[in-house]
């Protein structure tokens, strides 16, 4: 195995929650206020996944007071405490940048009504191989 890949595996989280493009998620992000740490929620639609290995990140888009806000989270950062899925969406693209041009009802995505198999950990999911095989059993 490529030594660099191996080193990345060692620093990566053993498991990251299973979610995909088009899902609506809550990102639990640790923020520091003085000496205290607290969890901040960022809820929105995953419009892009990029990078591989420890560099994997997810771009989440939400609307705040009518203004679109996007944040990119490094999935293996210790600051990203957890990611929970609210809704699964069916999409036909890997990058949902077209949502930036839309407003209101047009931003709705087709809900996943059990047609797709979850979890969709697999190639490019950013999960380690072990985690990918363990995940279905855990569901």
């Amino acid at each position: 195995m490529n030594i660099l890949h191996q080193l990345e595996l060692e620093h990566m989280k053993a498991e990251i929650p299973d979610f995909g493009i088009g899902d609506t998620v809550d990102v639990h992000y640790l923020i520091k206020e003085g000496d205290k740490e607290r969890v901040q929620l960022f809820s929105g639609t995953v419009i892009a996944l990029a990078g591989s290995g420890i560099r994997r990140n997810a771009t989440v888009r939400r609307l705040v007071a009518g203004e679109g806000v996007e944040r990119t989270f490094p999935l293996h950062s210790p600051r990203v405490a957890n990611i929970t899925v609210r809704d699964r969406g069916i999409v036909r693209r890997a990058k949902l940048y077209y949502l930036r041009d839309r407003e209101g009802k047009a931003t709705r995505l087709k809900p996943n009504l059990g047609k797709l198999q979850y979890p969709r950990s697999g190639k490019g999911s950013g999960l380690s191989k072990a985690a990918a095989t363990d995940a279905p059993a855990a569901e």
Partner: protein
């Protein structure tokens, strides 16, 4: 030769990645395989200092008549010669093998460099230098050969500005502008005028890279930022010649929790 008079180590660039610190900061790192390096030879200013004393050279000194016995000449300076990365014996010349044999090796080394020192080195030929030698070093200077860019224009090579893409400009978008002056004050194109030409494949030293982490078990060293050259390119790592006092002022990125908290309360710089 730089003035840095400490023994460094030889290494190989494995690639770049990122690691997260405890406080969540993401640090771009270059992973370098540093050592183990075999000490191939030790150079002494005077022959008397040499560990083997006045060894007689068995070579015939370039003369055709038989072997001569003469005292070993002094090297005239202090240095340690290190060899890194094994090279199969079938690829080595006989003189190469002869040199490495003195350090107890059956094969050659692909990357051999000398480190000049101020004082007589304590290392002996045949010893190994590992990355553990850099344990107390906080910053290093890294020397390598940059990637080759072939024949490059002035924009890439010297950072010249590009010319307008429109407003009547035709064809000359990435060409250099004026080269000199005209008429009576002209002396032709000034000497040293920066122009297009071959770029890259140069020896470059990046100074004061922070040592983020040392993995002595696997002979790896993590450096903050980029180093010259392509992956698997050879590098020379030395303790930095830059002022280490700066380190105390700016404790950089590898800080344990206590230090990090102290920093956080002071506010970010």
């Amino acid at each position: 030769m730089t003035a840095s008079a400490t023994l460094g180590i030889l290494g190989k660039k494995l690639g770049m990645t990122q690691i997260f610190q405890d406080d969540g900061t993401c640090v771009p790192v270059t992973v370098v395989q540093a050592g183990p390096c075999r000490v191939l030879q030790v150079k002494m200013a005077t022959a008397a200092e040499h560990p083997e004393g006045h060894r007689t050279a068995s070579a015939n000194g370039g003369k055709k008549r038989g072997k001569q016995s003469r005292p070993r000449a002094a090297d005239g300076y202090y240095a340690v010669q290190l060899g890194f990365d094994d090279k199969p014996a079938r690829l080595c010349s006989k003189p190469e093998l002869g040199a490495t044999k003195k350090a107890g090796l059956e094969h050659g080394k692909r990357f051999v460099r000398e480190f000049r020192l101020d004082q007589a080195p304590t290392e002996k030929p045949g010893e190994d230098i590992t990355v553990a030698a850099l344990t107390d070093v906080q910053h290093v200077d890294v020397t390598g050969i940059t990637k080759g860019r072939g024949w490059a224009g002035t924009i890439k090579r010297w950072g010249f500005s590009r010319q307008p893409t429109s407003h009547g400009n035709s064809v000359n978008h990435r060409t250099a502008g004026g080269l000199g002056r005209n008429m009576s004050i002209s002396k032709g194109v000034p000497k040293g005028k920066r122009m297009a030409g071959h770029y890259g494949v140069e020896k470059v030293t990046v100074q004061r890279l922070k040592v983020v982490k040392i993995d002595a078990e696997r002979n790896l060293i993590y450096l903050h930022g980029a180093v010259p050259g392509h992956y698997n390119g050879y590098l020379v790592l030395r303790k930095t010649v830059k002022n280490e006092r700066l380190v105390a002022d700016k404790p950089g990125l590898v800080i344990k929790n206590a230090a990090a908290k102290a920093m956080a309360t002071k506010g970010r710089k």
